[in-house]
């Protein structure tokens, strides 16, 4: 099923919050957003309902929708869950992959190891994880992952050089464990990487006053 207009609006609003364009406490400019995404107000209203449920917005009757600001818990929950899902993908991939598929993962791992720019790091890292998920051949995992909303600030790798090295190291450890057929090690290594990156995302969001800190209002 393709993305609905409401989905597109929700995705747009989330990224605006993550990038700090919409600030905590700010009232959502619904008409502007509708225009930016190219939809009517109806999908915007649907998106607001979904975003309120997800914790991104707070609706005050007759006043509008207000940005909650990300709290640390939300970021950590996201990365912990995503880390576990990818760990599951690694487990399945180890059990199911063919030599050809492993060779492809080798290639993707090498590509990330050789990445020189932050943008390339992001692309290559995503390609490796996507490749691993594809090899895992689990329709249900793909449904679960598709529903996860990414929380990656647009400037993450540019603004946080440590994040580049950490990602390269993390994927290398994950791939080594996958090659060794060690599902436990793969899961442990990858969850640790995601949790570590979550810490950096939180620090970055705090530095730009985007998060509410540990206690959301």
């Amino acid at each position: 099923m393709g993305e609905t207009s409401a989905d597109a609006v929700a995705r747009h609003v989330r990224q605006l919050v993550i990038d700090g364009v919409l600030r905590k406490g700010q009232r959502l400019p619904q008409d502007q957003i509708a225009a930016a995404v190219g939809v009517s107000r109806i999908p915007v209203r649907e998106a607001i309902i979904a975003l309120e449920r997800e914790g991104w917005l707070r609706v005050e009757p007759h006043r509008g929708a207000f940005v909650n600001g990300l709290d640390d818990e939300a970021v950590i929950d996201h990365y912990e869950l995503h880390g576990r899902y990818v760990g599951f993908a690694a487990r399945r991939a180890i059990a199911r992959m063919s030599p050809t598929q492993l060779a492809e993962l080798d290639r993707l791992a090498e590509r990330l190891a050789g990445a020189v720019s932050p943008a390339e790091t992001e692309r290559a890292s995503r390609a490796y994880v996507d490749g691993l998920v594809a090899v895992s051949s689990s329709a249900r995992l793909e449904v679960a992952l598709r529903s996860m909303v990414p929380i990656v600030p647009a400037n993450f790798y540019t603004a946080v050089p440590d994040a580049v090295v950490a990602q390269q190291r993390g994927v290398a450890r994950l791939h080594r464990a996958v090659r060794d057929g060690d599902a436990e090690a793969a899961e442990r290594a990858w969850i640790a990487t995601e949790v570590e990156q979550a810490g950096r995302v939180i620090a970055l969001l705090r530095a730009h006053h985007i998060t509410a800190g540990a206690t959301a209002s």
Binding site: R53, E54, G55, E73, A74, D77, H78, E80, L81, R84, Y85, F88, R92, S138, A139, R140, L141, V143, A144, S147, M148
Partner: protein
């Protein structure tokens, strides 16, 4: 728990509170009927669902039949194709095992968050609920108390994201689970006892691990039950 929580937990694979006191909605009853027909072999893999016949047999309109089919499509029992109707898909062993492993991941995180939020008041409530579980007279009552425990853990965890994740992976056998799957009640009772111990002890890692283990055992039991009835499709 506030009334709003009912809306929040409905759709994550737990029966809404009202369903314990009143009958399930027509759509849910139709879905239950179709699931049982598939499990008993009356409806075979690849068979097209005759929606009008089902509606007539159950004495309902097409609307709840349609609702049921949409739910069953999400759960993986049927495949709804735009112009062709709904077909019984059949689940593979891998599909079933994956489903419970993924549910285990999310519920495991819920349990670990609940363990972090644990204190004297939640511990007391969990003890009370656990006693209710042990004393349940039949499968329906067991399911109802089980729902209460899981709902309580989800509330303790306090994570909108985990709630959302649960909604995406609805249960394969939402109703009658403890009646349909041999050994499920024992697995759940002993498994939840271990999870509750870990939550009370404030041990997130152990709560996560034990919850994942419960769901993995359910996965094996369901796969075994399906295999025994010749219901598994290859792959």
């Amino acid at each position: 728990m506030a009334a709003g929580d009912d809306a929040a937990v409905a759709g994550i694979g737990l029966a809404p509170r009202r369903a314990r006191l009143h009958r399930a909605s027509s759509g849910q009853q139709v879905a239950s009927f179709i699931r049982r027909a598939i499990i008993s072999g009356e409806l075979r893999t690849g068979e097209r669902l005759r929606q009008d016949d089902i509606a007539a047999e159950l004495g309902v309109s097409r609307i709840p039949v349609r609702e049921a089919i949409i739910a069953l499509d999400r759960e993986g029992w049927v495949q709804l194709e735009a112009n062709r109707g709904a077909y019984v898909t059949g689940l593979s062993e891998q599909d079933i095992v994956d489903h419970y492993a993924l549910r285990g991941i999310v519920f495991g995180l819920v349990a670990s968050r609940a363990a972090r939020a644990a204190g004297p008041a939640p511990a007391k409530e969990l003890g009370r609920l656990q006693r209710g579980l042990r004393a349940a007279a039949d499968g329906a009552e067991f399911a109802a108390v089980n729902d209460q425990i899981l709902r309580f853990l989800v509330t303790l965890a306090g994570s909108p994201r985990l709630r959302a994740a649960l909604r995406v992976t609805p249960s394969i056998i939402p109703e009658d689970f403890f009646e349909l799957v041999p050994g499920a009640r024992e697995i759940q009772e002993s498994g939840l006892a271990a999870v509750i111990r870990a939550v009370k002890a404030g041990d997130p890692a152990r709560a996560d691990r034990t919850m994942r283990a419960v769901l993995a055992r359910h996965g094996e039991a369901v796969a075994g039950a399906f295999a025994a009835r010749g219901l598994l499709t290859p792959g």
